[in-house]
């Protein structure tokens, strides 16, 4: 049975549909990331769950109780905000203690719980520091401890890492996941960073235009995107437009043998989705093999163990991730053959123009 349910949530701001019928079911102790570009409605959804805003239609149910019209201070939800929401006039300890104090908990119990939580987030030594004496990462750790102190029914995280530098972001996201698993707390996490979402979640829901495009496990989202938008948003993907023909898909004058095309009617416009790491690249030796697109290496991007090659040719625009060692023998300007996999490629029916994903500002949220 679902622990957290968002039932057909709608929210309009004037003529803008911020949420257009969101449906989510999340089991107890699970971690769901709402992932999407700026303006997709993910923060609006989170704020509805927190109670800071009311839906125009739909319901929010937690553990069988309808909380849609319950005031935010009666919902028992812990929330970590995007940045710097600590009360500046209180030390780290007092910040964490705040919710317990409001609930009238016994002083000794309060102090013990606060100390335990500060230890849990690795800040036992900084309990008496004021927020301005803490780094951004430390502040967000305190904010996490503060949200956890009240033993919330659901933990809500609104882009909590977006204001931090890259290294701290990675450390803290792993810590959030560790703590979430330790405490078994049901968690809703909003982010525009797909790497963040994929690395910490049990489930990921990709949102676009106020709707959920697809929801599934990180592996499903990566390997089997259901829509062109998800394909574009999750990871890096080659998107080759083509037409179904006998035995495959015609693209750039070449018939690609794509297994998934066999079930499609002839003449259908489709999008062939191929992950860069599944593309084999080698020097072009004149002949053209199956699923081979020929072009020149125009850029090389070093990514550590692999190097990303951009290959352009006549009607060909492919990116491929090859082992860095191999990339050394394929410098920019080399004529290469890129071989697409017959089995790994996904096929989506091309119904409309491909969506343009707006750029996400570094710290924007809603």
């Amino acid at each position: 049975m679902a622990y957290l349910e968002l039932q057909n949530l709608h929210r309009d701001f004037g003529t803008v549909k911020a949420l257009d019928g969101i449906e989510i079911e999340l089991g107890e102790g699970e971690f769901l990331s709402l992932l999407g570009p700026s303006g997709c409605g993910k923060t609006t959804a989170l704020r509805l769950v927190a109670g800071f805003d009311r839906p125009d239609a739909g319901a929010i149910v937690v553990d069988g109780k309808n909380l849609t019209n319950v005031a935010p201070n009666k919902r028992d939800m812990g929330m970590v905000f995007q940045a710097y929401s600590l009360f500046p006039n209180m030390t780290a300890r007092q910040n964490v203690e705040y919710g317990l104090r409001i609930r009238g908990k016994d002083r000794a119990d309060r102090r013990k719980r606060v100390s335990d939580l500060l230890e849990l987030v690795g800040l036992g030594h900084a309990a008496d520091r004021y927020p301005h004496q803490l780094s951004g990462g430390m502040q967000q750790r305190v904010a996490l401890a503060r949200a956890l102190a009240i033993e919330p029914r659901v933990l809500l995280l609104d882009e909590p890492l977006s204001a931090l530098d890259a290294k701290v972001r990675v450390q803290l996201r792993e810590e959030i996941r560790r703590i979430q698993l330790d405490l078994g707390i049901t968690t809703l996490y909003v982010t525009h960073d797909q790497e963040e979402a994929l690395s910490v979640s049990d489930h990921v829901a990709v949102m676009y235009g106020g709707r959920i495009e697809q929801m599934g496990s990180p592996a499903e989202m990566y390997s089997a995107p259901a829509t062109p938008f998800v394909a574009e948003f999750i990871g890096t993907m080659n998107r080759l437009e083509g037409t179904v023909v006998d035995g495959g898909v015609e693209h750039a004058g070449t018939t690609l043998r794509i297994e998934a095309a066999q079930e499609r009617p002839r003449g259908e416009r489709v999008l062939v989705l191929v992950r860069p790491e599944t593309v084999e690249v080698g020097p072009a030796n004149g002949g053209s093999g199956v699923n081979t697109l020929v072009g020149n290496v125009v850029t090389q991007t070093f990514l550590g163990p692999v190097t990303r090659l951009k290959i352009l040719g006549e009607g060909v625009d492919v990116i491929a991730d090859v082992p860095t060692q191999k990339a050394l023998s394929l410098p920019v300007g080399t004529r290469v053959a890129a071989v697409l996999p017959a089995e790994g490629a996904r096929l989506l029916v091309l119904k409309e123009d491909l969506p343009q994903i707006p750029e996400e500002p570094a710290s924007a949220s809603r």
Partner: protein, 285 residues
């Protein structure tokens, strides 16, 4: 290094008029007041003027000024805080905010004889409002004890610049109370009242204290408004004016001693204020 020196000398030249002005019209007069306060008519040094301050009517004038300043600073401060919050809070139409700040900017600088005249014309014995109350509402404010020429009346006139000054000074601080703090507080189970008690007011307290001390000083030093309403008001600034330039009461050294007494009162206020401010702002950078 060389360009740094050039920049430095340019900075000195550019600010020289300001420093010259300050020295000529602030520090030198202040020094003259300080020295003059301890002199008598025969150019000898004496504490007699200072001793005089502790006697009637001077001590009463200090009391009158301090009371008036404290009351108008407290009422102006508290009312101004609420008005500013009401205008700046989320959900208030933007035009209210811009109208209020523009009006406050003008009103806070409107004082002296024009303000006194405006109040006499509206709330004096034959003022427009006085007559309106009397003739239209059958309510005689003078019969009910109100007189514009009393301390209450002068205090009412002072509120005209005290309130807007508070609004102007406190508005940026209220803007600094982040929405996330309110939401985090609600999220942790607190009511609006609890938020203001534990977070909002403590965060604003250094600014509130600073604004109230400013309001106190503003009222304490006011002269022309009070003089325009009642030149016989029992206020120390009116006494200083009378003794400095009066034909009958001319005694510049006593006036300087009274001005020195004002420095002392303000210094005492600062001595009380600084530790309070430090305590209220102990969490700030």
């Amino acid at each position: 290094m060389r360009s740094g020196r050039r920049r430095l000398s340019f900075a000195w030249i550019a600010t020289l008029p300001f420093f010259a002005y300050t020295i000529l019209f602030l520090f030198l007069p202040a020094a003259s007041v300080l020295i003059g306060a301890f002199q008598n008519d025969k150019s000898g040094y004496s504490l007699s003027n200072i001793r005089t301050l502790f006697h009637h009517p001077y001590i009463d004038a200090y009391e009158g000024s301090i009371k008036l300043s404290l009351v108008t600073a407290a009422i102006g401060g508290i009312a101004g805080l609420f008005i500013a919050y009401a205008a700046l809070r989320e959900g208030t139409p933007k035009w209210i905010r811009s109208t209020l700040t523009t009006f406050s900017g003008v009103a806070a600088n409107f004082g002296g004889i024009p303000l006194a005249f405006a109040f006499i014309a509206s709330l004096g014995p034959l003022g427009v409002l006085t007559l309106f109350f009397k003739n239209q509402l059958h309510f005689d404010i003078t019969a009910h004890g109100f007189s514009l020429f009393s301390m209450t009346g002068i205090g009412l006139a002072y509120m005209y610049f005290q309130l807007p000054l508070m609004i102007l000074v406190i508005a940026p601080a209220i803007d600094g109370v982040r929405k996330e703090w309110r939401e985090a507080s609600a999220n942790l189970g607190a009511s609006q009242f609890q938020f203001w008690r534990y977070v909002g007011i403590p965060v604003l307290m250094p600014s509130i204290l600073g604004a109230i001390i400013l309001l106190f000083g503003n009222a304490f030093a006011a002269y022309a408004t009070a003089y325009g309403i009642n030149s016989g008001a029992n206020l120390i600034t009116i006494f200083i004016g009378a003794y400095y330039s009066g034909n009958v009461l001319n005694n510049p050294h006593l006036a300087q001693a009274m001005a020195f007494g004002m420095f002392v009162v303000l210094a005492v206020m600062m001595i009380v204020y600084i530790p309070l401010q430090r305590r209220a702002a102990r969490w700030a950078k």
